[in-house]
Symmetry: D2
Subunit: 327 residues, 4 copies
């Protein structure tokens, strides 16, 4: 199965956290970031973040970067998280003018995406949720959330809106928390162009088995629109290099991508705090390729057979021989 690989532009750059807000290494300019992406041969597309990378005013400039570096625009991630005004939410904010701004900005990014040859918006409404108990009207705010996203979906039916769920951070509790919550919301919105982004690490954080999340989206309407890849230690969104921790979960994930005939992009979403971003992405992509190749070279039906039998010692023996062959 041949996949298309991409990366969120900022991933090849410098990352910050709350203790070192100016970043763990020297920042790169946008042209430099594009040039760095270009150095990874398998990567043919890029995801851009609203405000961080693309605004209403720099679309032409961005177009030129894409062309010069022969990169496709995979998606735009509108900025619903990185400005002070979103601090109490975007689509689900208590303030109606903020809710309106969330929709307006999304529409602007839809326009920008079209102009840049893209057809996908990856929506991450990270500020929609709550921190404290007794802080939120869970029904009203979820209604607002679905209404706002629906308005964005109705704006252009030729652009897909893909919802990226995450159980927490930056809020202690997000509204778009799990794959199942996301499906409820896509059903509530009800348009064909709304779907879901699986971030591999976010799935782990929610105690999901990422392969099962792929299956759930297949089962309930074929709604897997986009994939973000990384890894973590389960408890937090560590955004580490693909395959660095969960060998078998990652393998099973790639197997289910193939089994469900996923046709979208596989995009790196790592936060290389202490690593060189370019090297971390390069390895992340190499890892994705290795997992995809391994799935392809397993004789047809062997994994299906394991699943059909469900016999744990047999499964474990098979995987052991696959990953730790006698040398």
């Amino acid at each position: 199965m041949s996949h298309r690989y991409s990366v969120i532009l900022s991933n090849v750059g410098s990352s910050a956290d709350r203790f070192l807000t100016t970043g763990y290494s020297t920042p790169f300019t946008i042209p430099e970031l594009f040039a760095r992406v270009k150095q990874i041969p398998q990567v043919t597309g890029v995801e851009l973040i609203g405000n961080w990378h693309v605004t209403e005013r720099n679309v032409k400039e961005i177009k030129q970067h894409l062309e010069e570096n022969e990169l496709k625009l995979v998606s735009i991630i509108p900025d619903h998280f990185g400005q002070m005004k979103w601090k109490n939410g975007s689509f689900a904010a208590k303030d109606p003018s903020i809710r309106m701004e969330a929709v307006v900005h999304t529409k602007e990014m839809i326009d920008a995406a079209i102009e840049l040859g893209g057809d996908l918006i990856s929506l991450w409404p990270g500020q929609d949720g709550y921190d404290y108990l007794f802080q939120a009207d869970y029904i009203q705010e979820r209604d607002w959330f679905a209404e706002g996203v629906k308005e964005a979906c109705l704006y252009r039916d030729d652009v897909k809106i893909s919802l990226e769920y995450k159980v927490k951070e930056p809020r202690t509790h997000s509204y778009l928390s799990t794959v199942a919550t996301s499906l409820l919301i896509t059903q509530e919105i009800g348009t064909d162009n709304v779907g879901v982004t699986i971030d591999f690490g976010h799935a782990l954080n929610a105690y999901e088995t990422p392969a099962e999340s792929v299956a759930l989206l297949k089962k309930y309407g074929n709604k897997l629109f986009h994939v973000h890849m990384n890894d973590n230690f389960r408890h937090w969104d560590d955004d580490m290099i693909v395959g660095s921790i969960h060998t078998i979960e990652t393998l099973e994930f790639f197997y289910w991508l193939k089994r469900t005939e996923y046709k979208g992009w596989l995009s790196i979403d790592q936060y290389p705090y202490r690593e060189d971003g370019l090297e971390a992405v390069r390895e992340g992509v190499n890892a994705m390729e290795a997992f995809a190749e391994l799935v392809d070279c397993i004789p047809s039906g062997e994994l299906d057979g394991l699943i059909r039998n469900g016999n744990a010692p047999e499964i474990t023996a098979y995987l052991r021989k696959l990953l730790l062959p006698v040398r």
Copy 2:
């Protein structure tokens, strides 16, 4: 708001775990268990477990116990977890004859419930799920699951079937894992008599805010059919005494029960490994009553106002004055 309180019959008895399978105290007979429940004045109903308490053959006997102790049958929890045959699942088992047995047993328990004056089945398909990666066909098995439960729902439309979700245990991963997964399944089944049981502790285990789980069930079809109460340390289903750990979560839960006009039973579901079961249930019920009374005596609109503003220091100050008044 006046609630109806009940208890799962075995809760007043002795509990076992995998290290002490014969139980942490001397077992009680079924008549003794009924007599113990009778000693808790606020408790007017009881939940029975299939096989453990009620079978096709002892319905009359059970009826007599209910009458003698002036207890209503709140629900039957069919046994889909406590026999060897369910070890690889019940409704979602790979073996079609087991799947059939799961439905048959449910129908028997529906019949028994009707005979005992009940109208609720609380379904806990704890063995439906998987333990290992590459062990399950997540789509096929979830299809089977919904089909089987649907067949039970169609059997009698005057009996409610309430699905109790739990993220894990006894499997490392359950199919009926979270409130949102449960809602997807109720939508898939599509009958009016299918709904959801919130077990307070299971909600915590899934990193849900229990009050928000109540709200979600209200929002998506008014599907809260039943409540199991207990408490835990978030990471595992410790099944502790109500209110023993999460004071504010429990308060917010009772507030949202009132706000959404929940009319069902509040049932104790504790596992008193080292406690006297009767004393643990007595205190659990006292706690439920105290939380309900506190919600009732808060001047109308105060909590609504906190939620509308969403101001954390204001919320926290309010709760502090409520729980830790200057003495």
Copy 3:
């Protein structure tokens, strides 16, 4: 029991995270931060962070702020986390020159503390640890860690060095991870002036019962030197307002502080991303005061009695009557 309350200076200001690195509200100048602290009547001391607030060059200026606002210097937290040079560790860094800098900076901060009338360094070596598997020589790096901290301890025996543990963040794994690890390290260092800071939330993150952490430090050498207060949802260092989530854990913590005769400061360590920092600290201090008062007004021996019996229904009933009295 009368406690002394303090706050980390930046807590009354604006907070940033990795998605909004410029902060969730407009930043305050250092004089403004001092003026804000001054507005909280119970707060009589302040903790300062190296580089962020205090450097070798601004000690006189800081002294003036302290005096003008009638605040004591409670501690300095040297900066071992907020500059690019620490990205691979401070005391345990693989680079020997960085390890040396970690010690040098600590000594400078010891000098500054003395000049400012303080006698406590609260050390948070947040970058000492690792992110990936196979990334660290766990023995060698822990040896370096203890050697470096010991050198700082030996510099001035009239200044206490208090080690603040945290299981993760910013690294996926910290060396100074839990209360027990901290005790091993204090024993390894072996000086009288080395001790441990409990951050209430960090204890919860490590699945510690905070009251038990107090007890452990009492048992193994009376090593509780300092306390940071906040709250969270157990899984992450959410740095929320004191008492906002864990009512009973906080009460038990204050009880054990009294029982073990803790004499140090109680310092707020919150991260008010979306709250007004001043209001959040004000409420955090009010909460600390309320918990301390509640412990004081419980008739002597009642809690001791509960603990001696260890009877869960009795304990839970007692706490229910305390927190949710019949109104």
Copy 4:
């Protein structure tokens, strides 16, 4: 490096949990269990559990089983968890007569071990801890715990007492919770014959990196006396087949066993609820052998080099090529 492999006798049998207390498959007699162990060629030793397998009265019988099946006694795990009398603790119980019984039973098992040719007691005081807040005198009970274990250690200095830590279950909080807590207790006891058992899964449950736990025990007194192997999903002691989830953690663990020159046994400690116990153990042992062989066949110094550099993309690339070579 050649390892010695063993198994806890009950692992090849039937397992129960709290929902199916009579077990997920038909129980085996003790002779049958021995005969099953015998079928796994690499296994040359066995661990026995007090009461479950060995009592004061059946030592001769057990001796015969060992001889007939050519198995060594690796250790006895005294029963401090599987009888009603231990329900409120063993060495740390509030009742002094129970504390005495805990010591007496340990001494009996020491005698039995010697008679059976063993020199190791693997102590798992699973009931020592607490469930509820305000339930325990953390100082007093930990004092009792250390005193009791010390008395057992002093009984025979030619028998090693190895403490197996676990953060929770069956109590919500154990006293012997983490590797660092265990080290504090070994230091408190102070005899040469007291050490620590790492259970791989228990280390994961405590958010330890198992390889780091090995290193910590090396650093603080060379205290790794015994190893129990299994795997889990981090959050709970799922007791799954070795290597079934954490490929890289297991590899790093075996590398550090070699690096620290561990000479003890590697013992399977799995709970095969739904698997055939014999097949699950067979595969667990095959997995251990495969990991040990892989560590041995990596050119000397390569892993040391990765650790010395600590460069994450380089480490991840190396592991990818090792586990997912281009085919």
